[in-house]
Symmetry: C2
């Protein structure tokens, strides 16, 4: 992993590394589809106007324009194009544009690249792959989907070759109701301050709260007390109640978070944490918020985040509430590779190299290969009839476990070049052991 | 298919259309992997300098720059970035950068989007997916790979729900040797003129040949005679010989093309055509050239093209010859959808909706769902305990074939809502019929 990409922030994998990434992508896709999510892709570009609707992200966007377009003709306004920086904004547009063709609640997964012009570092690339799942309703969306989506991502992440992870969940209603209940009305301002807790510590957050939201010492202290609550079960409810704050929105948020934590802690003990400090900064969530850390790799940042939007999208007076999460595939794969958490059992798909006894046997070697492939065995055929030793070395160098020989009399043998064992074989029936059929990606 | 994309040239599919695209992508991937090709992805951007190395494509390129970058700081030179317009140029760079980590001959497939700022029309989008396979050697690459790659793409395309197709193959050595043999030295100029044959007809090509390459009437006639040769077997060899031209490069080209056609016509009769008019315009191929048409849809253009490069890439005095083909996935999928060649059997992955008898049964319904999923059955759980009629209607509207009921006494039944048949079922053993397990994409 000393290899550097030739363009900072744009990682590219070697074939054996790509196998690890493919394993991650295939695992996520299968889990999402087993849960009934439909695949959707959106175009890589959006209009700048669409991307900037939520503001404050303009510095990260890559603009796109035809190289040879006249400078004067280039549109610099809202119609100009830019690469999407996440998959939520494009998906919201897709839902609005195709609402008449979709069955709601609409469950979709979307696995695509996104681009941000941020300063690159490990865990933050300029080009990266996200795997998003969302459920979107037309007008309303039962709260149960907030619980379900936590279960789906726990199952999806649980299938990956990564260390222990923990989904940390909070609820905006709970936090905002609490702040309101103690007399702090600038709830967005309080959230923004609390969001900095991990970075700057409680004292500086208290100062921010006093200076920027007009909090008294007691109010700042209460807000920080709430943010200090972390429980792996539903005991957070009693701890919040113990703070003696009353507010209907707080009640609603507590009941919602309790449902998520109760079900998730029952099904995946230790995988979930009610963490009342989770704020998700500038994102416009309106209920549940999720973040996920790799235990022991907290500095990597969240590998899977999301939440509930009352209005993911809207069209006239029609609104589409949604709840969803986004898995940082590139962030996860980069860490798997840099830490050697997993590796592929070989670097090529090929299980068998069919050798050539002489140069005229290429066509009959293709027959052998076709027979094996028809039963799902990945095969390649040697391109020239070099000495067998050389052909075996070729297989060895590429990590191909089996080499096939056909004699002039038409008999066949197959050799496992790792053990050296060589046996008679019939191309119409022989199959490698299941563990050698395809490259396997397993934890190291 | 009356639906228009909201940005011309940037197609987006509905979930049931995306299933057709996924089927195409999965089929190609499986075929490539069965033939031992490794997956590689490259970043979406290249430096403009890299993309323009081969010239003449600058008008089609989308430049990329950070939106908020200072105009003065923006690099407009060779280091500026642009989206790749194909997968060959990025792959050539990847090979050079990673040569020390790759085992040659290196077989890779690469399925990614590419972008070109051309005027959109059916079959030509501004954002499109390509599926490329190439074999690259270090210094040399046996000719047999030219034969093999024709076989691989015939098998790959043969697995897709498309009408009959034909791979049309020519050889640059054959053409250039022939032109030289009749005394035409500007072989590139002759190729460029012959490339226009389908568009402007033989008389205008003859005129071009006379005006731009200095051909005599007899020379133009001979070049056009060569270009008129099309055979499904190796009989083209005799036809070319009958033109009475002698040249060592012509001999070499004839022998190469004969090998490809002999093997491919034997393995896939009717799928291959020696077509001596194929020129592949501005591409810098040096031997075999391939194009592919959908029979009856010739106006769509080639759905799979490629050829042999003596130097796909080079690094100092080291050269990497290659041979490869690129399948136009978006072009193919667009035609499949617009012509209704194939469709998905349902629009969602879900095979079973687990209903709720009452609102408290959601958690136990999740147990049923988990049991089914553990045996590979895609399942979703209803979000609220509406009347059963409503829950069934929900499944029907989404195209989910089976609905699951759990009684208060814990007994289970499953209903096929298409036939109305309802039977007792055990979540630990019940599986839908194989054809209902996942959405199937089949020819219509």
């Amino acid at each position: 992993m000393a290899r550097k990409s030739s363009l900072s922030g744009f990682p590219e994998w070697l074939p054996q590394e790509r196998l690890v990434e493919l394993h991650v992508l295939d695992t996520l896709r299968r889990t999402f589809e087993l849960h009934g999510f439909s695949s959707v892709e959106t175009r890589a570009v959006e209009t700048v106007g669409q991307l900037l609707r939520k503001g404050e992200i303009d510095k990260e966007v890559y603009a796109v324009s035809r190289l040879q377009e006249e400078e004067s003709a280039r549109s610099n306004g809202e119609d100009a194009l830019a690469l999407h920086f996440d998959l939520t904004v494009p998906f919201a547009r897709y839902v609005v544009e195709n609402a008449g063709h979709l069955a709601f609640p609409f469950r979709r997964y979307q696995i695509q690249k996104a681009w941000r012009g941020e300063r690159p570092q490990e865990g933050r690339a300029r080009e990266f792959t996200q795997a998003d799942i969302d459920v979107v309703g037309d007008g309303s969306l039962p709260f149960r989907y907030d619980v379900e989506l936590a279960l789906v991502v726990i199952e999806a992440l649980g299938g990956l070759p990564i260390p222990d992870f923990q989904l940390r969940i909070n609820n905006r209603k709970l936090a905002e109701g609490f702040y309101r209940g103690i007399g702090l009305t600038d709830t967005a301002g309080v959230l923004r301050s609390i969001d900095k807790l991990e970075k700057i510590g409680p004292e500086k957050v208290a100062q921010l709260l006093r200076e920027e939201t007009g909090a008294t010492d007691a109010q700042a202290e209460a807000a920080l007390k709430l943010a200090s609550i972390r429980t792996e079960d539903t005991s957070f409810v009693g701890l919040v109640r113990g703070l003696g704050v009353a507010d209907p929105l707080l009640d609603e948020g507590l009941a919602e978070l309790e449902q998520v934590i109760a079900e998730a802690s029952k099904r995946a003990p230790g995988r979930v944490l009610a963490d009342l400090s989770i704020a998700r900064g500038l994102d416009y969530y309106t209920g549940t918020v999720y973040e996920t850390v790799l235990v022991g790799h907290e500095s990597l940042g969240s590998i899977c985040s999301g939440g509930r939007y009352d209005a993911l999208a809207s069209k006239g007076n029609r609104t589409f509430p949604g709840v969803g999460l986004s898995i940082g595939v590139t962030r996860i794969v980069t860490r798997i590779l840099s830490q050697g958490f997993a590796a592929a059992s070989r670097q090529v798909p090929t299980a068998v190299l069919v050798t050539l006894a002489n140069d005229d046997s290429w066509s009959s070697a293709q027959d052998v290969a076709a027979g094996l492939r028809s039963r799902g065995v990945p095969v390649e055929v040697a391109a020239s009839a070099e000495k067998f030793g050389k052909q075996i070395k070729f297989a060895d160098r590429r990590g191909i476990p089996f080499v096939w020989f056909t004699s002039e009399d038409g008999s066949h043998e197959v050799k496992d070049i790792r053990s050296g064992e060589q046996v008679a074989a019939d191309p119409a029936t022989w199959t490698p052991p299941a563990e050698d059929l395809w490259p396997a990606v397993s934890p190291q």
